[in-house]
Subunit: 246 residues, 2 copies
Amino acid sequence: MSQQRHGSTPGEAGVVPAFPDLPEATIARLPEYLRALHHLAEAGAETVSSEGLAAAAGVNSAKLRKDLSHLGSYGTRGVGYDVALLVDQIEYILGLDKNRAVCLVGVGNLGHALAGYAGFASRGFRVVALFDADRKKVGEVINGLSVSHIDDLPRIAAEESIAIGVIATPPHSAQAVADVLVESGVTSILNFAPCVLSVPANVDVRKVDLAIELQILSFHEHRKASLTALPGGRGDAAGNQEAVGS
Amino acid sequence: MSQQRHGSTPGEAGVVPAFPDLPEATIARLPEYLRALHHLAEAGAETVSSEGLAAAAGVNSAKLRKDLSHLGSYGTRGVGYDVALLVDQIEYILGLDKNRAVCLVGVGNLGHALAGYAGFASRGFRVVALFDADRKKVGEVINGLSVSHIDDLPRIAAEESIAIGVIATPPHSAQAVADVLVESGVTSILNFAPCVLSVPANVDVRKVDLAIELQILSFHEHRKASLTALPGGRGDAAGNQEAVGS
DNA sequence: CGCGATTTGTGCACGCCTTCACAAGCGCCT
DNA sequence: AGGCGCTTGTGAAGGCGTGCACAAATCGCG
């Protein structure tokens, strides 16, 4: 679904739409808004208020309005936001209208699951290639996709115009894989290996460490336990949920 | 992340050691430091400088020093930090010396992988129970653990003193699962389902949405593409790596 | 047409986090 | 013992993000 900018004054910017300078925190929340909006759209809602959308996304309504205001005025005062319009706009900003090709390296325990993860395809990502260094795994078919050897990565990445790579290898080989990915033209990496990657400045890396999340929860368990052990400690302050990022 | 003030010890250190009031951002980095320290310990290092550890963890050295200073003075000026001592200290703070029991709900594609994820066990977490609502999956053995029906969750959670639960179900059943977990005494939840969970204030929820990470990368791809398309745009702005948090 | 109800967009203040820069402290060498 | 180099720990400044509170804008209705 290609699309150009809605509404916005045609008087400014050039052929390439001016790219808004969004705060990183806002960017991280846009996918959450998008999910909530899709949900609302399926339910038949045509418009939604900042209050309603904020509740659906689990954030403060003022924060949501400020986030959305960064990408332009797509709301109508007294009414709310047009759901369909906002969906299109956020998908455009996130670049999800490109049906991006993704490759996955490391078809082990986790990689196997990621290769079949339905959440990727449903958000506009196509996993177009799987790689592994183990020749015993090459040729294995997962979710309709055959595993290739990592030596073929540069060729296939070029053929398929792959810009995003997912690393699901053991940590000791993650850096080597990252080097190959970068060499092959990949400019965004999602790293599931628990290690620090070194990449050129023009390459973006995001890291997901499942064990770290548990350790953070463990800390809070420890804290809560030591609080309830104390005389005055009642753990019922105002708490809300939401996490990740950062 | 759930905020929650916790007044530190009223008087001085009691039987329960005074629990430091760590910034959330610091907590999120401690596991990273810990991983780097384990790596250094295996390599035989006895001490490490803030510069060295910061590099291994992929952060700024000043930030690392400030983080560590929050948990006390465990470094020696002119020398650095004692690796073994720091490992013990961080593990204590994170509550990893308790070998915490974890249960996993939802043995689908992702849940299967998580049940076998070695990174959990190696960081002091024991996955002691697997649950699913599908009776066809009950009894299936994964990684030496048999899948139980979710109706048995309250009983088993009590027996095993489970305080941490992992949700890897489809989003439409995640809230119901969370309710059962909370009802069963679980006070920390790691949620892999792409939805917002509503829980009591004393329960901590962290969310990991794999698709969101890809969408954030997609945004940066989009941004980089529109930058290189612009005349003045050279794609060598100050790019850094590392992410998540935040 | 005007008014009130409603909701967006945003100026502002506050607090958290990051980063710099440097004094204080420690060990080693002479 | 004394000085020197190295490293930690921290005060201060700046930036970023959050949330409040309100003005501006829009719709519906009498």
